[in-house]
């Protein structure tokens, strides 16, 4: 019997968790619990990484509520250049950082965001995702979730890093990820093993942050109800 990589084993689990009729946090938690059950070592390494990031307050310097969201100019999955101001020209926007097309938590999150976009698009409120993955992988992530919003490429996590959201995964986690066949270096076109903290920012049309969710524990994401409420109350 050949040994299967953790990512292969978890694909069926991912589909089940993604398709649960439950709030996003419950779907993410169901997936986290399965990882812990199937591979306690992997889960322990993630806990250690998250603990280290919490200790140094990773992400604390990211834009806060009331502060301006720094401008960006990034290519979307089709290669079109998108600036923050273009997005804000249509109304308030939720900017959601994701780790990559290979990350099951991001795939569950994008799936939930795709449905949320459907609820508010008619009210001129939108969502945009930012990933460090190159275009062909951004396309894959977008079509995997049938997401109607742009998926922007942040090469080398440059924008994320400039606002204090990029972290180094460290040697131990790197080895765990490689042996589990989650290798972001191909999709990023870079082998520096940096990932963004998957934070979400609700930005008003004036460019000011109205709400944010920043947690160095990548298994936690902004609740969809909170995101929708913040988007709807923003102007």
């Amino acid at each position: 019997m050949t040994e299967r990589a953790l990512s292969d084993v978890l694909e069926a689990v991912f589909v089940r968790c993604r398709d649960l009729e439950a709030p996003l946090e419950d779907r993410l938690k169901a997936f986290t619990d399965e990882v812990r059950r199937l591979d306690p070592d992997f889960a322990a390494t993630v806990d250690a990484l998250v603990g280290r990031l919490a200790e140094i307050d990773a992400g604390a310097t990211a834009p806060k509520v009331g502060e301006p969201m720094p401008r960006f100019l990034l290519p979307d999955e089709q290669g079109r250049l998108v600036r923050l101001d273009d997005l804000l020209g249509e109304g308030p926007v939720a900017i959601a950082f994701h780790r990559g097309h290979w990350c099951p938590y991001c795939r569950i999150n994008i799936d939930a965001l795709a449905r949320a976009e459907g609820e508010v698009a008619a009210e001129h409120r939108h969502i945009a995702a930012i990933v460090p993955d190159r275009q062909r992988f951004a396309i894959w992530l977008k079509s995997d979730a049938k997401a109607p919003f742009p998926v922007l490429t942040d090469m080398d996590n440059g924008y994320a890093m400039s606002i204090g959201l990029a972290i180094s995964v460290g040697d131990k986690m790197k080895h765990m990820m490689v042996s589990s066949r989650w290798d972001p270096s191909v999709s990023q076109g870079s082998d520096n093993w940096m990932l963004p903290i998957p934070a979400t920012f609700i930005v008003g049309t004036d460019g000011i942050v109205r709400a944010r969710f920043v947690d160095p524990d990548y298994r936690m994401r902004m609740a969809i109800e909170d995101l929708l409420a913040a988007l709807r109350s923003a102007n």
Partner: protein, 300 residues
């Protein structure tokens, strides 16, 4: 980001007091920031001594990566600060004369749409000229095959591979063939582009396949090469991935197995302006048709 900046200052001064002065912070804040970076990277970066600190093995190992991260973040800040509609955005781009412009024009068009103030300066030259343009700062970015020159400050980002094929005029006796062998070339006159970055590799490939003293015409520009090819003055073995080949026929040359990698090059340590930074990101993020990268990972 400030943590990395402090660490880079220490790596250059090897003295905590001097590093703190250079960064304009109090030494305890600098020490705290470096401790946080050590926690994040999971090990000590510095051995602290009274007047002189030095980098640990881990510190040495992560230094290039941290320097690159710092530059990347700094570039994002420059971009954020210079996004203003209509502001001029100069960009000097050097392209090897053997690399076709065609695959890059859609990117340049998109860049000029997003940055209406774009002022493009397009330079052409042999690879050594292109390398020189980059070194001297005349060009901010370069697109070329292998530069054939090792300089530690060149950053190379591979874009795509182009295979070499036999190319002949449509009226040539081989034009109806889909493939040919080296022995078919025995009676042919070869057109050699003397300033192509792959000319030495090609010559040795020809010699290895028994083509030693074939009559050859030499040309020094891509334009002349194509003109002579079309006029049927000879045949050529050239990379055709992105080339305009009207009136020409490409033929697979069996057992040639020669390709070149086209990359975009920059110089590390130089601040990148908005047009340069954005084009570099677009080129690297793009999905090139003739890209040989692997398919997206899909766990099944």
């Amino acid at each position: 980001m400030h943590q990395i900046r402090y660490f880079l200052a220490v790596s250059e001064t090897l003295n905590l007091t001097k590093a703190a002065e250079r960064c304009n912070v109090a030494q305890p804040s600098l020490t705290r920031a470096i401790k946080a970076l050590e926690t994040e990277l999971g090990g000590e970066l510095l051995r602290r001594e009274r007047s002189l600190s030095h980098l640990t093995e881990l510190g040495q190992r992560v230094l290039p990566m941290l320097r690159q991260c710092y530059e990347t973040a700094l570039t994002a800040k420059i971009v954020a600060a210079s996004i203003r509609k209509g502001e001029t955005a100069p960009l000097s781009l050097a392209i090897s004369q053997t690399v076709a412009l065609r695959p890059f024009t859609p990117k340049l068009r998109e860049l000029s749409r997003a940055l209406p103030g774009l002022q493009l300066k397009l330079l052409r030259g042999s690879v050594s000229e292109v390398a020189e343009y980059l070194k001297s700062g005349v060009a901010e970015l370069a697109i070329a095959g292998p530069l054939g020159e090792a300089w530690s400050r060149f950053d190379a980002f591979p874009l795509f591979e182009e295979r070499f094929h036999l190319v002949v005029s449509r009226t040539h006796r081989l034009a109806r063939r889909t493939s040919a062998e080296f022995k078919d070339l025995a009676a042919e006159t070869l057109l050699i582009h003397t300033r192509c970055e792959m000319v030495e590799a090609l010559k040795s490939r020809l010699e290895a396949n028994g083509i030693l003293d074939t009559a050859a015409h030499q040309v020094a520009t891509q334009e002349d090469l194509l003109a002579l090819l079309k006029a049927n003055l000879g045949v050529a073995i050239i990379p055709v991935g992105a080339m305009e080949t009207n009136g020409l026929q490409r033929i697979l040359l069996k057992s040639l197995n020669l390709a070149r990698r086209v990359s975009v090059f920059t110089v590390a340590g130089r601040p990148r302006a908005i047009a340069c930074a954005t084009l570099l990101n677009m080129l690297r993020a793009a999905d090139w048709d003739f890209d040989s990268a692997t398919e997206p990972q899909r766990a099944h």
